[in-house]
Each structure stands twice: as structure tokens, then as C-alpha cells.
């Protein structure tokens, strides 16, 4: 990372916290189970204003975490959305109090399958209850309560984060002034579920997975998790982006006439898989992909998506999609926008031209920045925030 970015990040008031919820505040899960005694790890950037009106909740994607705009403790890399959150960026911590929390079920400090089960004193493993996107959002709302924030200025997220944004709009419409959902969908498609199933099967096929009990045996199903990541990573890129980046370029002169990584694209995927296992837990990957697969916002509301947004009338929404995103393609975003219009919400929608695929929301996309800045600025003026 560049030195300037490091300096810029150092200059922002950054907080790291862990919100603990005792047995008196259980998390009621969609499955019917209750999670008693759990915690949410979160980061903050900027300062909450006196009126408590400038808080923005950023929701992370499947393999993201709370280190949205600060160095990652394991990889040492810049935050996954440092492009959007920082001085002079659309979400400038000088103006907003940005909160990003690790989802429930995650592995970066929030309670998940790698946490200790208080009942047994050992890792939860597969005894951890299945969680859903609404469960994640319910836990976030409890965190926001604990931080003393009644109403957020905005809830923002891409991919699974964008699904959480939609869930926020359905479950807590009165608790945010605006909503920004990027590269997301209101439900997981058969294709989405199919790719996730490949990933899960790869993990479970690893002999070191041990029926999910690997932690107590001092093992890690690294090979399976790496393959899961490799398969998923392909879905985050477009064919054009892969072709541009790698084409049929070889690693070395000539073919190996064997199964080494001859092609650069193979080597890249292997690297992606190998580095992923350093920072992610295999069981968390199972649980979070499951939560995404179970996500179907319309089904939660009698099959009518507009019904999900019935409480969000006149709320401001910004929905963004990318032309080359085949994981959550534009028609999915349009379905959301149509439902928002039907519900009488103030929906704005932009389909951004990009050949970078689903991951475009994490990358340099000036039109996305313009749309985010414009939307946030005008909403801030309406909210009476002095920027």
C-alpha cells in the first residue's frame, strides 16, 4: 500500500471494540434457537456527533470483516473498502461515524462456529446454530442499541452486505435515514446456491475437516477451504477481466506436461486460495454461505418483495449494480428497485459500466464514487448534517 494511504488512515480516529451480550440479552435466531452470551467485534472511524445522527453502518461481504478502512491484522493489507471510506472519500470519517461489525457466525472476533461454546467449553463447530441474514442484522441492531444510536444516517453494503442493507430496510426501516445496496440481490438464485454448494463440499471433503470438529483436534481443512475460495473467486470476476489479466499467459517458458500451475490464472487462483486460509475459518465459510443461500427477502413477506419494504415508504434508497456482475446481475437489482417503487420508497438506481465483474464494488469505479458521494451528500443535507 502507498505511504500516503497509510498516513491518511493513521490520521483518522479509529476505534476497535467488542460488544458483549450476556445471557439476559440472547440473540433470537430464525431457526428458533437462541444464542446466549455472544459478542460482536466492530471497528469505528470518525466521531459520533452530539445529535447522534451521523452514524453509518457498513455491512461486509461473505469473506469481509470489520477492518473496512484500516490495516488487516492478519494480512497487513489496507481495509477492503479504503477506497470508499477515508478522507476525501464518499464516506469521509470527518463527517460520518462509520461502524463496521463482523457478522455473527464470522471468525474475526464476533461469535461464530470457531468461538467457545459456553456449555461445553470447547469450540462450537457444527453445534453452532444455523444463522441467517436477518439474524446477522438483528445482532447489528443490538450493537447499534448498545452504542446508543437510535437512528443511523445510512446502512451501506455490497454483495452480502447489500443483502443485509435490504434486510435492514425490511426489519428496521425507521432506524436508518437512507439505505445503499450495491451488487446485491433480494434472494439467492439457484446458480448462487450451486456455487456455494461446491465450496461447502470442497471443505467437507477435506479429511482434516473432521465433521466440523477440526479445531478440537488441532487441524485445519486448509485444502478444502482453499478450493472453496478458488471456485468462489472465479464468480467474483468477469470473463473479460480474467482474460485481460491473464489470458493464456504461462508461468514459465513452455508447458510442464504435468499438473503444475502452468497458466498464470492457475497460479493466481492457487495464491488466492492459499492466502485465504490464513484469515478465514472453514466452518464460518459453511455458516455464512448457508445464511446467504437461505436469503429470500420476498419469501419472508408472503412472496411479495414490495411487502418487505412496506415500512420504508419515502425512505431514500440507492441501488447500484455492475454490467459485468454475473453473480448478482442487474435484473436482480431491478427487481429490488421495482419493489421499492411499488412500496413508495425513493429509489435511485444506477447500473455502472464495468468489465470487472462482481468485485467491481471493491475496485476503482469512478461512477460508483460519484453516485455514492452525490447520494450521501444530498441525504446529509436533508438530514441536517453539517458537513
Amino acid at each position: 500500500m502507498s505511504e500516503t494511504l497509510e498516513m491518511v488512515q493513521a490520521a483518522v480516529e479509529t476505534g476497535e471494540g467488542v460488544a458483549k451480550f450476556g445471557p439476559d440479552q440472547p440473540l433470537r435466531l430464525d431457526s428458533g434457537a437462541k444464542l446466549e452470551g455472544f459478542q460482536i467485534a466492530y471497528n469505528t472511524y470518525g466521531v459520533l456527533n452530539a445529535d447522534r445522527t451521523n452514524a453509518v453502518l457498513v455491512c461486509h461481504a461473505l469473506t469481509g470483516d470489520q477492518h473496512v478502512a484500516s490495516l488487516h491484522p492478519t494480512t497487513g493489507k489496507p481495509g477492503w473498502w479504503s477506497r470508499v471510506i477515508g478522507p476525501g472519500r464518499p464516506l469521509d470519517p470527518a463527517n460520518y461515524f462509520v461502524i463496521c461489525a463482523n457478522v455473527i457466525g464470522g471468525c474475526m472476533g464476533s461469535t461464530g462456529p470457531s468461538s467457545l461454546n459456553p456449555a461445553t467449553g470447547e469450540c462450537w463447530g457444527l453445534a453452532f446454530p444455523v444463522i441467517t441474514i436477518p439474524d446477522m442484522v438483528r445482532a447489528q441492531a443490538m450493537l447499534i442499541d448498545q452504542l446508543g444510536i437510535e437512528t443511523l444516517f445510512s446502512v451501506v453494503g455490497g454483495s452480502m452486505g447489500g443483502m443485509q442493507v435490504l434486510q435492514w430496510a425490511a426489519d428496521y426501516p425507521e432506524r436508518s435515514f437512507s439505505f445503499i445496496s450495491i451488487a446485491a440481490a433480494a434472494r439467492h438464485s439457484a446458480q448462487n446456491i450451486a456455487f456455494h454448494e461446491v465450496g461447502r463440499q470442497a471443505i467437507m471433503a477435506d479429511p482434516d475437516w473432521r465433521g466440523g470438529d477440526y479445531a478440537t483436534q488441532g487441524l485445519r481443512p486448509e485444502k478444502g477451504l482453499a478450493v472453496a475460495r478458488m471456485a468462489a473467486h472465479i464468480t467474483y470476476l468477469s470473463e473479460a477481466a480474467l482474460q485481460r489479466k491473464f489470458g493464456r499467459e504461462l508461468q514459465r517458458d513452455g508447458l510442464s506436461w504435468g499438473f503444475d500451475a502452468d497458466f498464470q490464472v492457475e497460479s493466481y487462483l492457487r495464491y488466492q486460495g492459499a492466502s485465504f486460509v490464513d484469515r478465514f475459518d472453514a466452518n464460518s465459510y459453511l455458516y455464512i454461505t448457508r445464511a446467504m443461500d437461505y436469503f429470500d427477502l420476498a419469501a419472508q413477506h408472503g412472496g411479495v418483495l414490495a411487502q418487505a419494504f412496506s415500512g420504508a415508504k419515502d425512505k431514500r434508497f440507492c441501488v447500484l449494480s455492475f454490467t459485468s456482475d454475473w453473480l448478482y446481475p442487474t435484473p436482480e437489482a431491478r427487481t429490488v428497485v421495482r419493489a421499492l417503487n411499488a412500496a413508495g420508497a425513493r429509489a435511485s438506481f444506477v447500473e455502472i459500466q464495468s468489465d470487472k465483474g462482481h468485485d467491481a464494488f471493491l475496485l476503482d469505479e469512478p461512477v460508483m464514487d460519484q453516485a455514492l458521494s452525490g447520494f450521501l451528500m444530498s441525504a446529509a443535507v436533508s438530514r441536517g448534517l453539517c458537513l
Binding site: 440507492c318 417503487n341 411499488a342 453516485a371 443535507v381
Partner: protein, 217 residues
């Protein structure tokens, strides 16, 4: 003042304060912003270019990327009081369908377009034998986005076919104030460079009359 801006003034006159307005093809939101400032409308828009939508967002407008041919279905019926289609009808693939859609999602449609029956257009075609280029139709044929040009007579016939009521019509020209016209008069089909219509579905209750009543002066 250009004919387009004359059109804006007319639209501002037509729209009831506080109304729900959809501008189809809203560009960078110039008209919507005027309507919001001067008429306190609930302003929404559809715009085909991402950059245009981004500019609208910066103005605090709620705008969706989309086009008139494909994306009007994304709004529920009668979601608006007015749907505006300014100088765009001649560029859509299915003008009949778009007109019907406009009056599905709004009580009234405000539609303007260049009149291909204008005398200068007819004269150029007759004398030069080539596609006319005028102030209202500035681009050469190989560059224009206009694929469905029509005359006033064509349009009023279409309104009859679609069972639409023409509540008012005005002729727009550069540097001249808008002029109320009877669009079915042959003479107006020669004189109007561009025209603006206020349409409603036949059978729409007309009890809710615009304040002031005088639609065009």
C-alpha cells in the same frame, strides 16, 4: 430562450404544486430540479446514462437508470400525477407503447416532440430532396437518434387511436413564448416547430383541475 427551455416553462406552468412527477429521460435533472424548487413536487426520474443518474443523485433527486421502452414497467400504476416525456418520443422504439405506459403510471402525461410537419421541414424536403435539418432537428440523418419522427396530425391521430384526451397543446419555437394551439388545425401543423401536449386517459376524473386553470397563455 430555446424551444427546450420554452418547454420547461410550459411544463412548470402545467404541473400542480406538490404533485408527484416522473421525468422520463431526465438527463442531469435540470427540469426536475426546477420543478422541485418552483413547484415543490415529489421529483423522480428515469435516465439512460449512468453519468446522468449520478449527476441527478448529487442534486438529491431520486432517479433510476433505465429507458422509456423497457423500464416504465418498473413503476406501479398511477404512481404519479404527471409523467413527462420531453423531446424524446421520436427516439423511442415503440412510441405507442410508451405513451400507453406513461398514462398507466400517471394520471396525466406531458409530451413534447419536434413537429415534422413544420413548413421549414416540408420546404427543405421538397426543394432539396434531402432529409431536413432545422433548429428542432439539427443532426444529419446518419447521426440523429430520432427514429420515429411524426407530425402534429400523426400525433393527434395516435391520441385518438389510443383513446387519449388532449387537454391542452402548445406550439414551441426558439425565442418565442409558447402559444396555445388547437393541434388538429391544419395550419398549426405548418406553423409549430415543436409541440407540447397535456394528455389524460379518457375517463380520468377531471374534477381535480389545475389551479389557475389557464393552461397556456
Amino acid at each position: 430562450m430555446t424551444a427546450a427551455h420554452q418547454g420547461y416553462r410550459e411544463i412548470l406552468r402545467l404541473v400542480r404544486p406538490g404533485a408527484r412527477v416522473l421525468d422520463v429521460g431526465c438527463g442531469e435533472g435540470e427540469l426536475l430540479e426546477l420543478l422541485r424548487t418552483e413547484k415543490d413536487v415529489d421529483a423522480r426520474g428515469i435516465e439512460i446514462s449512468a453519468a446522468g443518474v449520478a449527476a441527478c443523485l448529487a442534486k438529491g433527486l431520486s432517479v433510476m437508470q433505465g429507458d422509456a421502452d423497457r423500464d416504465l414497467a418498473e413503476f406501479p400504476a398511477q404512481a404519479f400525477d404527471y409523467a413527462i416525456l420531453s423531446q424524446t418520443l421520436q427516439q423511442v422504439r415503440e412510441p405507442r407503447k410508451v405513451l400507453s405506459d406513461l398514462l398507466r403510471l400517471a394520471d396525466r402525461a406531458i409530451v413534447s416532440f419536434p413537429n415534422f410537419g413544420h413548413w421549414r421541414v416540408r420546404l427543405q424536403l421538397i426543394t432539396t430532396g434531402r432529409m431536413p435539418t432545422t433548429e428542432a432537428l439539427p443532426e444529419p440523418w446518419w447521426e440523429t437518434a430520432n427514429i420515429h419522427l411524426c407530425t402534429l396530425r400523426d400525433f393527434t391521430t395516435l391520441c385518438t387511436d389510443l383513446d387519449l384526451t388532449i387537454e391542452a397543446a402548445a406550439a414551441l419555437s426558439d425565442n418565442q413564448p409558447a402559444r396555445a394551439i388547437d393541434p388538429r388545425k391544419a395550419l398549426e401543423n405548418w406553423r409549430a416547430e415543436s409541440a407540447l401536449f397535456l394528455l389524460s386517459r379518457r375517463g380520468t376524473p377531471h374534477g381535480r383541475r389545475e389551479p389557475g386553470g389557464d393552461l397556456f397563455e
